[in-house]
Symmetry: C2
Amino acid sequence: MVETTRRQAIEDVASDLFRERGYAATSIRDIARALSVQGASLYAHVASKEDVLWGIVDRAATRFEAAADRAEAEAEARVPGDPVEALAAMVRAHVHVLTSDVGGAGVFVHEWRALGPERRSAILARRDVYERRFRAHIEDGIAIGVFAMTDSGLAASALLSALNGTATWYDPKGRLPAPRIADHLVDLSLRMLGAS
Amino acid sequence: MVETTRRQAIEDVASDLFRERGYAATSIRDIARALSVQGASLYAHVASKEDVLWGIVDRAATRFEAAADRAEAEAEARVPGDPVEALAAMVRAHVHVLTSDVGGAGVFVHEWRALGPERRSAILARRDVYERRFRAHIEDGIAIGVFAMTDSGLAASALLSALNGTATWYDPKGRLPAPRIADHLVDLSLRMLGAS
DNA sequence: CCTACCGATCGGTAGG
DNA sequence: CCTACCGATCGGTAGG
């Protein structure tokens, strides 16, 4: 468990650095310096630099997926078969993951290109599945007339881009607290889809 | 003029590479290889690698600004003092710049962090001014009741993030032609703001 | 977790 | 635009 903890500390520090400067512009020695150890010492805990990136990205992806699972289940329990309710819950969950771990989520959003070919396509496939869940609710809503007719694929992309932008500008010590940001983004999202 | 042309060819090739792999992950030799010359030969045309990035980013910023100028002027000429018209024109102009130069615009959107401190803050200041123009139209629209009441700053950020996402997924040979994408994004944007 | 070190690659210069 | 080369830094390993 000591190693798990140490590994987590490495990924936490790396998340912030990768988010600020990007993966390629951050060296193993930068990460080590932030932890007050020598660069080579990190290799007792991680196999490679890309391994650190993968740990961060995989963890963030898992958090987004789990939050969406819970959001869909709770929305379905509260108001069964309502696409508006489901989409609102998914948006709120997505923003919560973003704001509760800006480092990890920001790296997930922007730095997946730095992964090797197989991990990169694995994460793209997961992102695709995730985006389709939003699209499915949009299509359900269009079908029953609670959302305006639109290109559901483009709408889902635009929606997630709007939400993900939060990872770039969100500041925990900023003007708006995270729950207010989530409220606003839920409103903007539903309006964007023409929710009645 | 030969040099201007050559310089432009370097920036064009670099735009695509920076967009795909990121600035830090692209070497001067990568750019040179795409032009079938030796790495050192590029230094007859550019002062430094950051100089290439700056050329791309500055040019893209200028295109966004000029397109917004024209859009505002034309909207004002067509329907004076209408925030909805003005905002729709700005969105359309923004998407046009994005889709007509995915490389340059994509680098502008994502790689400004790689600039040195002074150029980085210069470009952030220009981005801020540009975003404020969107925000001003949003506030005008709220004031006269054609847009729903909302946090104008957050709405402007979310709107531009939604549009900028296009730079990530847009493919000139893709399913939707650029003008259709612009149409959809104008619709989504106006709806998001609650345009009556 | 450290020191010592590796081969490779980087941005960039000199001199033609 | 080329060859030849520079000092610095990179990710990573060996051996303790």
